[in-house]
């Protein structure tokens, strides 16, 4: 606890110092922008992303880009508010004159800030915006996070092969865009695979009591329960399912939001057997990932999550694009981004013509066992 507090203080004082001294002391530095949720109830995601960026930045700046120039990130806090995200984008483009923007954190924020960057022909690269329609905003909007529509079918197919599930109950948080778009994908995939949906139950993303919905689901005897929501309600649902006596053999299948070490911390053994598909997994056994996890633990004294991992890769991808562009200019960077060929902690990466991630081979299906995720085989 003390450590954490300290690192928070250290962070903010660095931030203050950074702003007061007008960070880019040297003219040859290349300043890029990032809009993330750094304060307020959803700051957890933005702070993880900032950690991922900063860690990658250290590596990149060891050699620099464009013949030894250093990259500097100017952060704008959106506080989870779309108006502030727009504001951040405008300041980064108009005042800081950044050639490329990372973020924002939430899909909703991207729907508001994306058009601003796109209108000014500044590439904006989302690292955590998984909703449908993000890259349709315009030709300058990119994302490195796999949309749910690439991840969820993989999970469902595996579960169907393994357990032969025929009828499921579906639950999702209907007041949050991330969960809702995950649900839309689940529904489409289930329909396509011919799996029967017995009932669809909704809840609020801040709810803590799910017993009524779970009791109803229990009475319908599903083969599995498919859930789209963030990790907080997810933990509550898993614990609640045990409390109302849903058979532990009934598998829970989760979307991207479930992929957090928190799930095991909070739900403990109630989470056992939960299946989740994810573009990244902490114990994925390859050299790049192991190195990343170690460096992250050393720097921040905690485990990275998926948001940090995606941010880490994204900064490398963007830095490479700047280097290849030959100059820190938006259109050249856009062209270089489009040609990205990179292998990072999430696996091989390139963009489709629609500026979404092209490669889904990095998707892993993981299973909770004794409070920890492991690869599901």
């Amino acid at each position: 606890m003390a450590m954490r507090k300290f690192s928070f203080l250290a962070f903010s004082s660095l931030g203050i110092a950074g702003c007061l001294m007008a960070a880019p002391a040297r003219a040859q530095d290349i300043k890029i922008g990032a809009i993330e949720i750094l304060t307020g109830p959803n700051s957890r995601y933005g702070l993880a992303i900032r950690n991922g960026f900063d860690l990658a930045l250290e590596e990149v700046n060891k050699t620099g880009v464009l013949g030894g120039k250093k990259i500097v990130i100017q952060y704008e806090d959106s506080a989870g508010n779309k108006d502030q995200a727009v504001n951040g984008a405008r300041k980064l483009i108009g005042l800081a004159k950044v050639p490329v923007i990372l973020g924002p954190t939430l899909s909703n924020e991207m729907f508001a800030a994306g058009p601003v960057a796109n209108g000014q022909k500044v590439p904006i690269v989302g690292t955590s915006t998984t909703a449908a329609g993000i890259t349709a905003i315009g030709p300058y909007v990119y994302r490195t996070s796999l949309p749910e529509s690439d991840v969820i079918p993989v999970t469902l197919k595996k579960a169907q092969e393994k357990f032969g599930i025929k009828k499921v109950a579906v639950m999702y948080a209907n007041d949050d865009a991330f969960s809702k778009s995950g649900y839309d994908v689940f529904k489409a995939s289930l329909d396509k695979m011919g799996i029967q949906i017995l009932t669809t139950e909704t809840f609020g993303s801040k709810d803590t009591d799910f017993s009524a919905q779970l009791t109803k689901i229990k009475s319908m005897n599903p083969d599995a329960i498919v859930v789209s929501c963030l990790v907080e309600p997810a933990s509550g649902i898993l614990l609640g399912a045990r409390a109302v006596g849903i058979d532990p053999k009934v598998r829970f299948i989760g979307g991207n939001g479930f992929n957090s070490p928190k799930l095991g911390d909070i739900a403990g053994e109630a989470a056992d057997g939960t299946l989740v598909g994810s573009p990244w997994f902490i114990a994925k056994d390859d050299a790049a990932n192991t190195k990343f996890v170690e460096a992250y633990r050393a720097k921040y004294k905690e485990d990275p999550d998926q948001f940090a991992a995606q941010a880490f890769d994204t900064l490398h991808i963007v830095a490479n694009a700047i280097d290849k562009a030959g100059a820190p200019e938006s259109d050249k960077i856009k062209a270089a981004l489009q040609d990205t060929k990179y292998t990072g902690v999430m696996g091989p990466f390139s963009f489709t013509a629609e500026r979404d991630p092209a490669d889904t081979s990095g998707v892993v299906v993981i299973e909770m066992k004794n409070g920890k995720f492991q690869i599901f085989k």
Binding site: F11, S12, S43, V86, N87, G133, D175, D176
Partner: protein
């Protein structure tokens, strides 16, 4: 110089918009506070205005002036419908009934497929301009100043000071309350439509209880002695986070602290000056 100005306008356009739109919201709050009522429904009226306008633009491609008009009329009709039963209430009861309306709207928007559920509506074309926002703000402000200087303004002030006495003196309380609520709903709806067409995206959670409380705080911080107070309060609370950006994690802490100190030392708001009356 002009390049600098262009740059400045581009970078701070969202902030400049927000100050004006929040000023309108603060005035919509003032319309009810001025007769001593506390309605927290402004966020709901704003949401209705925003959604109505966005749906009309996206689906039917109505001209913008017609869209703005609809965004004022629909919340006004809603205000007329809910006004009957709710205006019998006073004080905190009215405040809490209107909170319930805000929540029910949010629940409805999340559940409705026509409004895109939690995904909201995106791709709304930007049609709002600085001139439009501030022009409308000036018109509404002028309207309130004229009202404050009239006989009607005197009746409003009497109601705010002592409703029972005002009633005895012949002020038509139900008509005044209904009128204030309808005017308030129209201004909030207008602000909602302007905001929707400045931002490309609207979602159900933009019009929540927290937002309702923020709107009240514009008016209370500024002071409700004159219509200028709420507009000033909105400007301060909208700009404050901008000035505190460098505090990073402690931004909201300081923001809260400033509000606390301001209220403790100026419980009647920053601007306590009242408009003189004629006639």
């Amino acid at each position: 110089m002009s390049a600098f100005l262009d740059n400045f306008m581009f970078s701070y356009e969202a902030v400049i918009f927000a100050v004006g739109i929040n000023g309108l919201l603060a005035l919509s709050m003032y319309a009810v506070l001025a007769i001593g009522q506390l309605s927290l429904g402004q966020a709901a009226f704003m949401g209705i205005g925003a959604y109505v306008s966005a749906l009309l633009t996206l689906n039917l491609d109505w001209p913008f002036p017609a869209v703005l008009l609809a965004a004022m009329v629909v919340p006004a009709v809603v205000a007329l419908i809910i006004g009957g039963p709710t205006l019998r209430l006073t004080g905190v009861y009215l405040a809490l009934a209107t909170i319930a309306i805000v929540e029910i709207l949010r629940i409805f928007l999340n559940a409705s497929t026509m409004t895109g559920g939690a995904l909201g509506l995106s791709g709304i074309p930007n049609k709002t301009t600085v001139l439009l926002i501030y022009g409308l703000l000036a018109v509404v402000l002028l309207g309130f100043v004229l009202v404050a200087r009239s006989k009607l303004g005197r009746a409003m002030e009497a109601m705010r000071e002592d409703e029972i006495a005002a009633g005895v003196m012949g002020v038509n309380l139900p008509a005044m309350k209904m009128g204030a609520l309808v005017v308030s709903a129209m201004i909030a709806g207008l602000a909602g439509a302007l905001n929707a067409h400045a931002n490309s995206f609207i979602g159900p959670n933009d019009y929540s209880f927290e937002h309702a409380v923020t709107i009240v705080s514009f008016a209370l911080l500024g002071g409700i002695g004159s219509p200028f107070g709420p507009v000033l309060g909105a400007a301060i609370l909208t700009l404050l986070p901008e000035f505190l950006t460098s505090l990073q994690d402690y931004k909201l802490v300081v923001n809260g602290f400033i509000i606390v100190v301001a209220v403790l030392y100026m419980p009647r708001g920053i601007l306590t000056w009242r408009i003189g009356r004629v006639g």
